[in-house]
Symmetry: D2
Subunit: 269 residues, 4 copies
């Protein structure tokens, strides 16, 4: 189906595009971010991502660079011309990111945080709304209303796996549920196979599956050296993995009449 | 086991007490609140509860009285001498309730909202921390740390049922998990069988079970006329149901050497 | 509520009794079984249990004594006067156990095995019907019909924990669901807290909870030396644990007007 | 990845094929079966399927044609030249189907029925092993061993959705788990999107996703008139739906260098 188009800078999510959002789990330093940003931009990514304030289960874990990340975000945007998405975990972050960040992301732990959603409805930035760990599909769809009620209709849904009895994989990707949400809401839906599976061997198969099933894109974590990542390195793609992923998507996209590029057109570097 | 004692006014939660926290789902008007408050106080409740800002899945549902509830809370406290617990769903609520509310409750949808937990750690009020819909037991325990890190060690855990495949009941009460959390953390744990089961026929059996299993109390919803409740009436106890519940708890409490009263001592009206 | 009484030898399950079914996970040898059988009988157990054919996930694990267990079962019954329950995992087991076993148990992995249930409906022995790992409560109740359709109305339901997202405990005990099944079906329901929790520290609290919630009994695994058990030793009670469990149940039973003995009467060794 | 090839008649499952297994939920009568069999055969199906003994949760529901189905199966095989798969729910069915059925299917309710698996290990027919409703991925893989231990290495795994908290769809398709099982076991894995989603609108997207993710095929339910089906009509494809499904698969298959035909080669009617 053709979902509504969400435009941000020169990029488009939804419509007939299949968009790749990529970047590190956490922004760690200039070299890490610029390496990843330049690399994924050259392969056709439509948007950059990177964590600034990390909500970790364990309060003693690395919690993100905070304001030191802002100049790095500006530099990555300038170098690539791509928009940048960052997670907001508290209403105060909206103001914090006002000048530098293009797309605000709601993490799975905050999908039910209706106060945050209302505040995001007052902004004029596109919102990536991740599904809650155990959110019913209907609750996910209703959460859109909290944002739209404020006048902001630029919502991108993101399936990132749900919590089930299965211990082998980090989460259970509910791809059929993501397609259902797309069909019922008309908003674009992307898949995060990095959090969804927690396993690099399954990211490429699930990215292809998302494309074939008709979703609007994927969000993946990429790190120059996953073994040294300060958060979630076990599920990050190397630069080489990322290239293989993109290479694997192209023939399927072509068969479906879609383009993997920042605006869904055939122009690609 | 004997958990740490949380004192609030003349009431005690934890230690050797078995405490009953009771009140309506939402505060609706003076008559409703005062009827319930006086009734449960006379039967030995240790704390009142009532919703002021309701986080509803559907943004069109009744969302609570807001500031009109504050004078009603003051009146109920004055009439009964009991402390009052209200859910905070946003950091701004902490200031809002500063003068009138004794205990701040974190709902299941906010257990993972670490920014809210950090703010609550800076207060000096006891916190009721409900388990998330799909929170691992270890995540629940770790969430305590976010509050304690701010210097506030007055935490009461509350099990309110988890989300499972079972469609018959509203949630699945994880009583064994609640006992595990109590044993591992040493903090008092109470059970909310109203949300846990969503069924009045199961509230009394589960309240007795919580007592026998060694938990520190229960939190129940009571309404003078459940059929007319503005929220969750289907799971509220009538005043008569509440009396039967308390009557059923007394012999078990006695057999276990516990008292159902505001301070765990044998004094009872 | 008062459930229908299932009589087997001089023991009664259901009605106003609270029955303890106890024995080793697997029957391993004469000394092990006789030690446990004599011990639990003296403390008021109403029925013995022990595995003969074990359905293990890993086909290389210990699979039970098979026919070598039969003379041991006869000896344990003769010494204690108690009935003996064994799991049947295949229709051929019904004939195999015809002379020696009093109660046939359907394991959680077979609750949906309707061919087995139909064959059990043709016997005239009481059936313990465990809930499936992920069986809906209504499916559990409907499974009774497959047995009753054959003319056998002696069914005892057994809740043994369901499979959820929670990794800390072996299963999630659905005590409220067990009470629901008892209320809806009128058949007796017992709890297996050994499989339900997989943790000896939680067995006694959950046994007390089952009693207080109004269930009809418990089934527990006991082993003289859990560390050496050939199956599931990690969740077995020692003889001393078992004594503490029974001692803890007595005052609650007394408060509720129930007796822990083989026939629910006050006669006890 | 390239899985082991399972040959049955002139059809191949696994290897580099993407195989379509199709037929009605239950065989109802000659006209119904022949209409579906001829139709799906002409579109490239590799195998027919149809239920003979249905294990229904409610014992009063339609339970299948039993032996009256056998001549219909023979006729469908003769007309199409395709092999036929039927579910066996009891060891006695193995002998019952010995002459007429080519592939024996283990339903999700029997994945843990190790006695049935052992009996199937003694046959020399390919086995379709569906994942249990709440089976761990490792348990699914280990269940293969029960069949292989008897000398039968012709196993096809089938993911048909797992039971989760989500009420909107019949089950939650665990596509990433299916890929994991394929990677770990080396056996072919097919997807049943009919049971997996319970919704015709989601069957085609999930079939394409299975193909793109690298699975070895799909199994779908087709009925000439779903509204009149005696079982599970709500999830059956019409003949027209089936054509659209196949038409949608071809370009993706081509892009991946796969053929949708009975033997994975380019020959197609």
């Amino acid at each position: 189906m053709k979902t509504r188009e969400i435009r941000v800078g020169s990029s488009v999510i939804g419509g007939s595009a299949f968009s790749v959002v990529a970047g590190p789990c956490s922004i760690e330093n200039q070299k890490q971010l610029m390496t990843v940003a330049n690399h994924v931009s050259e392969r056709g990514a439509a948007m950059l991502r990177g964590g600034v304030f990390k909500m970790r289960t364990d309060p003693k874990s690395f919690q993100g660079l905070g304001k030191d990340a802002l100049p790095l975000i500006r530099e990555a945007k300038a170098a690539t011309g791509l928009p940048f998405a960052v997670e907001v975990a508290d209403p105060s972050h909206i103001e914090f990111f006002a000048d530098d960040v293009d797309v605000l992301q709601v993490g799975s732990r905050n999908m039910h945080n209706y106060y945050l959603l209302k505040e995001l409805g007052k902004t004029r930035k596109p919102i990536i709304l991740k599904r809650g760990l155990a959110a019913h599909l209907k609750e996910w769809i209703l959460a859109i209303d909290y944002i739209v009620a404020g006048g902001n209709e630029q919502v991108i849904l993101c399936e990132r796996g749900i919590r089930t009895f299965e211990p082998e994989l980090r989460n259970t990707v509910d791809l059929a549920g993501a397609v259902w949400a797309q069909q019922k809401s008309g908003f674009p839906v992307i898949l995060d196979p990095s959090h969804g599976t927690g396993s690099p061997d399954l990211i490429a198969p699930m990215a292809k599956a998302a494309l074939a099933a008709g979703l609007d894109g994927i969000m993946v974590e990429v790190h120059p050296n996953p073994a040294c990542a300060l958060s979630d390195g076990f599920q990050a793609l190397t630069l080489e993995n990322f290239d293989q992923l993109i290479t694997g998507l192209h023939p399927i996209a072509q068969a479906l009449g879609k383009k993997i590029s920042r605006n869904g057109s055939s122009e690609q570097k």
